[in-house]
């Protein structure tokens, strides 16, 4: 991670720590905030958090690796989430995930070399009635079939480019 980002974080500390008690109780909440802001938890900030919350860095790494929500690596520009919950599974979610893996050339949990896409799978998004479900950058796609994947991925990059 660039030094710049660390500095930026330090200067934004106030925002990130706002309203939180500085103890273990706030740890997961704080990590959610950092992840929301930077897309991942930069390893370099762990010591800093440990000092402030008066816990050990190993405790924090324990949390980071235990919970699936936290990424230790920067994520791609677009986040593709594919549901493998039971309802989506019986409607072919696995095949959808495999097709996405093929199209992107990565496995679930990985990020493409050009940092365009991160692919993740989840165990249910709570839209089980309309599965298989794929979420791209917060946009839900329902009743997804294998041949729609290409289009869905393409749309994500086009949308992203529009924004730039």
């Amino acid at each position: 991670m660039s030094c710049l980002l660390i500095k930026k974080m330090a200067s934004e500390d106030k925002e990130i720590f706002k309203g939180l008690e500085l103890n273990q109780k706030s740890l997961i909440h704080l990590l959610h905030r950092i992840q929301a802001q930077y897309g991942y938890i930069p390893e370099e900030v762990v010591d800093d958090i440990a000092e402030r919350l008066k816990i050990t860095p190993s405790e924090i790494f324990g949390i980071l690796t235990f919970y699936k929500a936290f990424a230790l690596e920067p994520r791609g520009k677009h986040l593709v989430t594919i549901c493998l919950g039971t309802a989506c599974h019986v409607r072919g979610g696995r095949q959808i995930a495999e097709e996405a893996e093929r199209r992107l050339g990565i496995k679930a949990g990985e990020t493409t070399a050009d940092r365009q896409f991160t692919l993740e799978t989840v165990n249910c998004l709570g839209c089980c009635a309309i599965g298989p479900v794929v979420v791209v950058d917060g946009v839900y796609h329902s009743h997804v079939s294998i041949d729609q994947i290409e289009k869905i991925l393409k749309k994500a990059t086009e949308k992203g480019d529009e924004k730039n």
């Binding site: 959610h32 919970y67 249910c124 709570g126 839209c127 009635a129």
Partner: protein, 641 residues
Amino acid sequence: MKKIKNLHDLEKWRSQILASRPKKLKRVIISSGTCGQASGSLAIIEAFKREIKNQRIEDKIELKVTGCHGFCEMEPNIIIEPDKIFYKQLKPQDVPIIIEKTILNGEIIPSLVYQDPLTGRSYPYQPEIPFYQRQLRWLTEANFYLDPTSLEDYIAYGGYKALAQVLESFSPEQVIEEIIASGLRGRGGAGFPTGRKWQICREAKGPRKFIICNADEGDPGAYMDRSLLEGNPHSVIEGMLIGAYAIGAKEGFIYVRREYPLAVKHVTIAIEQAKEAGLLGESILGSTFNFDLHVVQGAGAFVSGEETSLMASIEGRRAFPRQRPPFPAQSGLWGYPTNINNVETWANIPLIINKGASWFNQVGTERSKGTKIFSLVGKINNTGLVEVPMGITLREIIYEVGGGIKGGRAFKAVQTGGPSGGCLPESLLDLPVDYDTLTKAGSIMGSGGMIVMDEATCMVDVARYFLNFTQEESCGKCVPCRIGTKQMVEILNRIVAGQGEEGDIEKLENLAQTVKGASLCGLGQTAPNPVLTTIRYFRNEYEAHIRDKSCPALVCKDLIIYYIEPEICVGCLLCLKSCPSRAISGERKKPHHIDQSLCIKCGACLEKCPPKVGAIKKYTGRKRDEIMATESSIKNSRVGL
């Protein structure tokens, strides 16, 4: 905002809200929970807003955006009041026509009306639709009428009246007595009597007490709690307030899984609103009762739904379960007495107080009272959320509410209880929905996931799916769960790959007993249930995989092939173009052919082949072996040339 000070204030505010609402000609209610939004409800809302503005008919039409109505298969859908006309699967371009024809001229548009897939009959009015007819929507009815971000809506619906009544005329003990008398049991899975749990926590000694709402909803395939929190957050908050008063807790937490951003948003808004109105915080409704409520977001771990793990997670630690006793009611959050209930359990509380225990316990079976919400999903026609009286049979839920199996296929099994539950066969469909009966059949009531499976679902694959899930989610603290589930997955992996051996079934059964008996928490203790029930009811499928290397449901990749029937194929090139690994060859108007050595069995070709042609087939067992043998002999003879 002025704080409400007592029941009288509340009633006054309620009548003011009702009186201030302009009576409009028509009201359009748009279902817009996460699933509605995923299906395009936001575009429908925009279209209505635009049209109403353009045509300047604001005084004629009221728009109401609500949470999920449950009929998720038909999203985006709307209800037009006062007649309750139900239109399904709308597109934004339908909106101007709906306004012109139905809203302004009272005409029904047949193409937007719901048609029963079994009988073909049309149902223009929502209450008459069979999906809704057989339900008893005690908790979910409000989702039709409430804007989840409006406290006024909840008040107008009679909200917080139960709380006001409790604070005015119930002692904590009386509240507990009422809940015990209602027979309410926990909706989070285990079915522990709620009033009894509260009593234990009330009687526990401690300088502070906490209550928790478990909205982790880890069961993959279930979303009852999401819908309640998203669509009617105040009802959960009101339930918690009543519980806190009864137990003597001053602080509470709602633990929501991170995959539910809309639920987090709505419940956070609701808490702020309740604080402002004097319904949360200090001296609630002018009484001496104080209570604070916080939202905590999960971080993606199934085990954190287990109560002791959940508390560890709130404390900012890894979600490891611990031995019980001591139970949370004795020693919970930071060692203080803590009462934890599921979202749906909390949502039942205001209802019981308002209507009385003897009204509530009239519905249900002897030991399971009230209603239960299920997420009816999988291979069923009417997928969605359904609320039914306890004691209804599985058959009634699946065929009368759910409209039967999709595509006219045959029913195979219904799974309840998620990874802790089991798969029940056709022969048990007449079982009543009841905590104890389902447990006896080898499954559990669970939190409400109900996944329907048809003949094209492989039961060995399903068992492997669940076990793989629990094995991955096992926190690793205790050995039987960590290693036992891993061993079981490995055996199942072998079986679905066609490498099963005689004796595997018995090995699975033995391991299952060990894992069940020796695991630390409910995750391990129930993990083998999906395997045990599928062996118990679908043993022949295991045997087909092991002995004949065949998957009768044509699911397990290693045991099937995709094959294009040359006599049926019309040579349209569709499958050929869709194949990601270029395994299909052929020319226009000539039969295509799959090179089995290149085929990755992704199923894309089958999806593309027009149903009226239906040239692509899946084969397993002997037929597969025959095709493979002919193919390779043809190949060899070509090589020979």
